[in-house]
């Protein structure tokens, strides 16, 4: 145990981080007292009568004791959907809010578990062992879904992808705000189908120290062994938070069989006249993913606030190993690493109560898909992408009914090719490329008594691929128990550096989507709430990776989907229950992407079940004990099981249970035990396109223990 811990610390690297903790820890230990529990508001209704008017007007309307827990949740403010925080019921988007309590009580291991709770979100595999998201039946892995970690764009800039699986630490999350729909009118080119905004605990949430250790084991191998340490404190006008997450994990412990036999060594023979290639070493098609599918994260997240200044710095080093390659098994596992350095500084300049100007400067450096080596069977990839961004956002309350937001953004993308082998040049014949992107955005929020109307637009012009204009209209209306939303938005996906680099004739258009959504939500009682929404997505010029056309990217004519999502939330004294249902179909679309479609079926896409039911439930058992049952039920999926052969994967039930005990032996100590994939379905990650890759076997049943200790300073 000590040895593992030492290895982890070495992974974190350098004791400078620990020094930071020691300084913070020393400060905290001087003033800290252990709290018995999360603070309980003991204010009674009667106490409010003795409050002054000033005190009353400072209260959160949805946060007083008279509101039920559910009302506080559904009326809580969400900022992801419109740059101006509004209650989730009036936000001009279809939104999901996942709270710290949802995550903690469900025992979610990582973001895959968390996002499986979201209607319409599904995971598939891309290539080289990387898993990504499908949204509403559409493969969204490359550039169609934006992930923000404390406001920082985590998509890698080369291919615009995200990597899931023991990656981001869920124990540090305060809340996740999700737009299940387009977000380009606010966020630009990665937010075509969805936006996931992760907000971690601030210094104010932490007010001390939190340490979490997690160990999970599958049938044949360990699944994860992670440690997370976060600390936060306010010192005068300074607010400081530092979180470190490091660990080791494995994608699966199951055998993987590729479609083709690989070749590990190629001998070249020169016979005096010509060069002849002679394949000399073949690789078995099947291997065990145990010790061949590492998912080793290191993440350092620093937040500093000083008056109206905010700084955020993130270092993310996700070290994976892969042996599945593209379409053949490899002779051994190779590194596939993703490194990111992100920094941002912004200032909120409050000129007066009506006018705020927020300038922001940020920088992102990434080395994605990195393998620095030289092997016949696996090419090196050593490219760096930098994004330097400057933006200014102006918010003006013209009146109590009219709010205007406008601004501009400029960013420069630079790509560097450091590879020594293979393709060492970009399409421009150079080892580096550079693009500029200029954007203007504006949004007006009109609060009429009849409805709230949000009108927005964003115009982007990029040196490399041209322009994109995306308007947005949202009409929301909340009645006493009921709310309605009618939303229309265009969105776009900006091609990544490599999408342009590997496009045919070095030209590719941004893909554009038109999305129509409607939502009705009804508060059934004090403690339960139901939402139903419908969506229709049409995507023109989708950018598609074409494995059969020489690993190129090209625009296909059209794609999209239509469907329905429902979510029922119940929060009672005994606990809570959330049940969701998602359905999509492609059968009403005139055209679909042939590489994504299932032969003989026009209603579904590869890898994505038409029907999905999500469950998250938790019961308080008394004495700080609670138990949860969570999971997803999925209808048939279809995927390639052999070259040119599509197979049907029968319905699956991924069920997890988690029992936790808070304040065990001492206040602040929490222990949780969980079983994941109770039915041992070994749920495969299917490639949602015809890319010549066999489904990646999922992990077997996992047993997990989580120990967390929180030392919080009382006020």
């Amino acid at each position: 145990m000590y040895k593992s811990f030492t290895i982890l610390l070495k992974q974190i690297g350098h004791y400078s981080i620990l020094t930071g903790f020691l300084i913070l820890g020393t400060f905290i230990s001087v003033s800290a007292q252990q709290t018995a529990q999360a603070e309980i508001d003991t204010t009674t209704t009667y106490d409010y009568y003795s409050m002054s008017l000033e005190e009353l007007l400072k209260l959160k309307a949805s946060g007083v004791t008279m509101s039920s827990e559910l009302e506080k949740l559904i009326n809580s403010l969400i900022g992801v959907a419109s740059q101006k925080a509004q209650s989730s019921r009036k936000s001009p988007s279809i939104v999901s809010l996942i709270t710290e309590e949802d995550i903690k009580s469900s025992g979610a291991r990582d973001l895959i578990d968390v996002l499986r709770m979201v209607p319409g979100f599904q995971f598939g595999m891309d290539t080289q062992g990387v898993t990504g998201l499908s949204i509403r039946g559409n493969w969204a892995h490359e550039g169609k879904v934006l992930l923000l970690l404390d406001g920082q764009e985590m998509n890698e800039t080369m291919y615009s992808t995200l990597q899931f699986g023991n990656h981001f630490d869920v124990s540090q999350i305060k809340r996740i705000e999700i737009i299940r729909g387009p977000g380009s009118a606010i966020y630009g080119g990665y937010a075509e189908y969805a936006v996931i905004s992760i907000i971690t605990k601030s210094y104010d949430d932490l007010k001390g120290l939190q340490i979490t250790g997690t160990y999970g084991t599958m049938e044949h191998a360990y699944a994860r062994r992670n440690i997370s340490i976060s600390a936060g404190q306010k010192i005068g006008n300074w607010g400081l938070s530092l979180a470190v997450f490091a660990g080791q994990g494995q994608r699966s412990d199951q055998p993987f069989t590729s479609f083709y036999q690989g070749i590990s060594r190629i001998d070249t023979v020169y016979n005096g006249q010509e060069i002849q290639r002679i394949d000399t070493s073949y690789v078995p098609q099947t291997y065990s993913m145990k010790n061949n599918s590492a998912l080793n994260p290191t993440n350092v997240n620093l937040g500093i606030t000083y008056k109206n200044w905010t700084f955020r710095g993130i270092y993310d080093d996700y070290q994976a190993t892969i042996r599945d390659g593209y379409d053949v098994s490899l002779s051994r596992a190779y590194p596939n690493n993703f490194k990111s350095w992100l920094g941002e500084i912004k200032y909120k300049w409050e000129i007066n109560s009506k006018l705020t100007i927020t300038p922001r400067l940020s920088f992102k450096r990434q080395l994605p898909w990195q393998y620095i080596g030289n092997a016949d069977e696996y090419s090196s990839y050593n490219k760096q992408a930098d994004r330097s961004r400057g933006s200014i956002t102006i918010t003006y309350d013209l009146s109590r009914r009219v709010n205007i937001i406008g601004g501009g953004e400029f960013f420069n993308d630079r790509g560097y090719n450091f590879s020594k082998e293979g393709d060492t040049l970009f399409y421009n014949g150079s080892r580096h490329v550079s693009f500029n992107n200029k954007a203007l955005f504006a949004q007006t929020l009109l609060k009429f008594s009849l409805a709230h109307i949000t009108i927005g637009m964003r115009y982007d012009h990029n040196d490399a691929f041209g322009s994109a204009f995306v308007p947005r209209l949202g009409i929301t209306r909340k009645f006493d128990k009921l709310h309605l939303k009618v939303l229309y938005s265009n969105s776009f996906r900006a091609p990544g550096i490599e999408n342009i680099n590997f496009s045919i004739d070095n030209h590719i258009n941004p893909e554009k989507s038109s999305v129509l959504e409607m939502e009705a939500g009804y508060q059934i009682g004090k403690n339960s709430f139901l939402t139903i929404n419908l969506f229709d997505i049409t995507t023109k010029d989708p950018i598609v990776y074409n494995f059969e056309e020489g690993d190129s990217y090209q625009n296909f004519p059209r794609s999209g989907s239509s469907g329905l999502e429902m979510e029922y939330k119940l929060k009672e004294r005994w606990g809570f229950l959330t049940v969701s249902y998602a359905f999509y179909t492609t059968s009403w679309k005139k055209e679909t992407i042939s590489l994504y479609s299932v032969p003989g079926k026009n209603n579904v896409t590869l890898g994505n079940p038409a029907h999905q039911i999500g469950i998250n439930s938790n019961v308080h058992l008394g004495s700080d004990w609670s138990a949860s049952l969570s999971g997803t039920l999925l209808s048939n999926r279809y995927g390639y099981i052999a070259p040119e052969t599509v197979g049907k994967f029968t319905p699956a039930a991924l069920l997890n249970t988690f029992i936790r005990k808070q304040n065990l032996l001492t206040s602040g100590l929490e222990v949780g035990l969980g079983i994941y994939d109770i039915l041992n379905q070994k749920f495969a990650f299917i490639q949602p396109y015809n890319g010549g890759h066999a489904p990646l076997p999922g992990p077997s049943r996992e047993f997990l223990i989580r120990v967390s200790y929180t030392l919080k300073q009382t006020n």
Binding site: Y48, Y49, L53, L56, L57, S449, F479, L534, L564
Partner: protein
């Protein structure tokens, strides 16, 4: 199949449309009640209204009435004066409404606010309603939720206040949005 989908659209929205009633985000009835009671501390009524019970009227059906009834057994105005809560229907005549020191107009009755305000223009009745903009429509004070901050806000129509011969404390004037 497409017809089936269209049918879902129609069913969902035809189910919800009949139950629509205009209202902004509802302030919790307990909170409304707390604010109504608080106004007794920050508003001064003319001397000729200082005898007898302090009358709070509720026009129309509202859960605020039940909350106010609970209040009467526990609290008094300025610690000494009993509170009487009276419920009025929409057809109540002006003379009975004028007996109220505070008249809370329920959401359902707010459409008659302008007319009511004219009827009670010579009275010393503080008209309280809910919703942003209602102080421009005849209410003296309107309570609403500012969704950006999730906090309660007060709108105060100063002209109306003066015409009803009521005086607001400087603190209330500073904290409310004065129209």
């Amino acid at each position: 199949m497409k017809q089936y989908y269209s049918l879902i659209y129609i069913v969902v929205f035809s189910l919800v449309l009949p139950v629509l009633q205009a209202s902004a985000q509802q302030v919790d009835s307990k909170l409304t009640c707390i604010f109504i009671y608080n106004f007794t501390k920050y508003i001064k009524w003319p001397p000729n209204t200082e005898s007898g019970d302090f009358v709070i009227g509720v026009l129309g059906d509202s859960p605020v009435e039940a909350e106010l009834q609970k209040l009467t057994s526990k609290l008094k105005v300025n610690g000494v004066r009993n509170i009487a809560v009276k419920k009025f229907s929409s057809d109540a005549n002006a003379s009975t409404l004028q007996t109220c020191h505070i008249l809370y107009i329920s959401k359902k009755e707010s459409k008659t606010l302008k007319e009511l305000s004219n009827t009670l223009s010579s009275s010393s009745t503080l008209l309280v309603s809910e919703g942003m903009g209602m102080a421009n429509k005849g209410s003296t004070i309107s309570i609403y939720i500012d969704e950006e901050t999730d906090q309660i806000k007060l709108e105060l129509n100063k002209k109306m206040l003066e015409s009803h011969k009521l005086k607001a404390s400087s603190e209330l004037l500073a904290l409310a949005v004065v129209i």
